[in-house]
């Protein structure tokens, strides 16, 4: 258990692409930090640099005060769970779990004890003799977790460990992982491109784009006070609607962001900013209805309760609570202080 710190870390690949650009980030001891961003934003490269699978072009990475620059992956005492799980296909589950311990020349008895313990904890007891190919997706994921946990590493790296599972299992394991982190209290760095995973899992979230860190904060901060247009659009589904300032009674140099669930039917909000939505496509989700259409000349989406009846072509009178507006500068795309 140790903090992980990036000091001005830059990674350039041959060919000149800058995957990570001057990253400064501190992950305190015991925190579950999620790196999130669209594909190619540098989040995986950042993780691989912690593991030692890539070397920074400049800058330093420290784990628990120790400078890791140039150290081989095996010497760093971190564990990693890969998106593909990377289970050794020719070894049984037992041998997969024991592999990192054997490489550390641990005694036979100690290894046996730890494997049994881990198998119990992750409910893998029945499966110890199986090969990875004989396991289901969820079981493989558990074995991969077990192989990482068994070493009791100082930091725990996860590279989209849920993205190969179906939606149902993903939702289940997300909660499972959060419980596990609470119990172990180990530093975890979790990489994902899925903002919902980031929001639900992270103690804090670091949003990246094109190699640059955009914002770090708790899920709540990121959602309620996105520091720029990119973060505002990236987090939340459906994405935040953007309206020109004048459409909501602001200046022309302002872009106003409104989240779909902040669009209410007129009358539900006292003193709201009125807006007319011309319906185009209606998507019923059961619990909610997403209404796509245009308002003030812009394409917008509103999330209304599941029992509302809307048809394509309808004109809906909506209202927005001024407190729900996010204002951004049209030029810099940075967040403006609420007046």
């Amino acid at each position: 258990m140790a903090p992980v710190v990036f000091h001005q870390v830059t990674k350039e690949f041959p060919g000149g692409t800058t995957a990570v650009d001057a990253l400064d980030l501190e992950i305190p001891d015991g925190e579950l930090m999620v790196l999130v961003g669209p594909s190619g934003c540098g989040k995986s490269t950042a993780l691989r640099m912690i593991a030692g699978l890539e070397q920074p072009s400049s800058g330093r990475i420290t784990i628990g005060e120790r400078d890791m620059t140039g150290l081989s992956p095996g010497a760093r005492d971190v564990a990693m769970v890969f998106q593909s799980y990377a289970l050794y296909p020719h070894m049984s589950v037992r041998d997969n779990l024991a592999f990192p311990l054997r490489r550390r020349r641990m005694g036979r008895d100690e290894i046996g004890r730890r494997v049994t313990e881990m198998a119990e904890m992750l409910e893998l007891g029945e499966l110890l003799k199986r090969k990875p190919a004989q396991l289901s997706g969820g079981q493989r994921q558990r074995v991969a977790m077990g192989r990482a946990l068994i070493r009791e590493p100082v930091a725990f790296l996860l590279d989209e460990p849920l993205s190969n599972l179906d939606a149902k299992l993903r939702t289940e394991l997300r909660a499972e992982l959060k419980r596990l982190h609470r119990r172990l209290g180990t530093t975890m760095v979790y990489v994902t491109h899925d903002q919902i995973e980031a929001m639900t899992l992270g103690d804090r979230i670091a949003v990246m784009n094109r190699g640059r860190l955009q914002q770090v904060g708790s899920p709540d901060e990121i959602y309620r006070r996105p520091c720029n247009l990119f973060v505002g659009r990236f987090v939340g589904s459906p994405a935040m609607n953007l309206l020109p300032g004048p459409a909501v009674g602001r200046g022309a140099d302002v872009i106003a962001g409104v989240r779909p669930e902040a669009m209410h039917r007129a009358g539900e909000v006292a003193g709201g900013i009125p807006l007319e939505l011309v319906t185009d496509v209606v998507e019923p989700l059961g619990s909610d209805v997403y209404v796509h259409g245009s308002a003030g000349g812009e394409a917008v989406v509103a999330r209304l309760p599941g029992n509302v009846q809307v048809s394509p072509g309808d004109r809906l009178a909506l209202a927005i609570d001024p407190a729900d507006l996010h204002l951004f500068d049209r030029e810099t795309e940075g967040r403006l202080a609420h007046e």
């Binding site: 992956p73 095996g74 990377a86 490489r103 070493r151």
Partner: protein, 272 residues
């Protein structure tokens, strides 16, 4: 694509063709138990009237076949082993390690695959001569210790393995050599089997190179021994074929034993 027959019209052509392919083997077996006269018939008799098993004894006694076998086994065994080890190491370096000029060297390696043996035969002979290995088993072994084909084959196979596995092993504390031994090679058994078999076949069947390097009988291999049945005036077909059957026997044993591996490796990992 209408109704599907239990077999397709293609079989009318394919079945006879595959029969034609098995014929030579049958013919070889039959000839090896015929008398010398019978072998001169055309079309060749495919069902022998009498079994001259003595052909085998005669072929065996005509030359020190035991010695030939031992020599062939030594040469082939060494070549197989050293190819497995050296090509693994070189193939892994080409597949995964980053070093300056790797791509260039690999292309050079591929280029050597294209040079016919005829061209390098004489210089190779001169090198072997200079090393003092002419007319010795060492002269047969030395040029076959490592083959560009083997390096190429293993490199290609290693590249099909997921990099994740190797990275996981490195994070788990393995060295590069440990990764090769504990993760890469166990997963490469089909490719290693293929390389082993191909090397075995090439070395065991090689005739031209032994003919050049070896002059004395006690350093001869099985293939050289067989050549003695092709006399200047009369070829003793029946003895030649009996000898051939004996020379092929260990090869067939290896092939049948390793067939499952071999077919699997060619069919699934070959190119796929």
């Amino acid at each position: 694509m209408r109704a599907r027959l239990p077999f397709s019209p293609r079989h009318l052509a394919l079945v006879p063709i595959s029969a034609v392919m098995v014929l030579p083997l049958v013919w070889m077996l039959v000839t090896s138990v015929e008398s010398l006269d019978q072998t001169r018939h055309f079309p060749p008799t495919l069902i022998p009237t009498a079994f001259h098993w003595s052909n085998y004894r005669e072929a065996w006694n005509e030359a020190p076949f035991g010695r030939f076998f031992l020599n062939s086994v030594i040469v082939t065994g060494t070549a197989v082993l050293s190819n497995l080890i050296l090509c693994s190491l070189a193939g892994y370096a080409f597949a995964r390690l980053r070093f300056l000029g790797r791509e260039l060297l690999f292309v050079a390696l591929l280029a050597t695959l294209m040079v016919p043996f005829q061209v390098i035969m004489i210089p190779t002979f001169l090198i072997v001569q200079h090393l003092g290995l002419v007319d010795s088993l060492g002269g047969l072994i030395a040029p076959n210790l490592v083959t560009p084909f083997g390096i190429f084959l293993l490199r290609q196979f290693f590249r099909t393995l997921p990099v994740d596995l190797e990275e996981a092993a490195r994070i788990d504390g393995s060295t590069r050599l440990g990764v090769l031994l504990r993760v890469v090679l166990p997963l490469s058994l089909p490719a290693l089997a293929t390389l082993g078999i191909v090397t075995f076949l090439w070395t065991w069947n090689d005739f031209l190179w032994p003919l050049i390097v070896i002059t004395s009988t006690d350093q001869s291999t099985v293939q050289l021994g067989l050549a003695s049945f092709q006399g200047a005036h009369v070829t003793k077909w029946n003895l030649l074929m009996a000898g051939n059957v004996m020379a092929l026997a260990p090869m067939l044993v290896v092939f049948i034993g390793a067939q499952r591996w071999f077919v699997r490796s060619l069919a699934t990992t070959g190119i796929r």
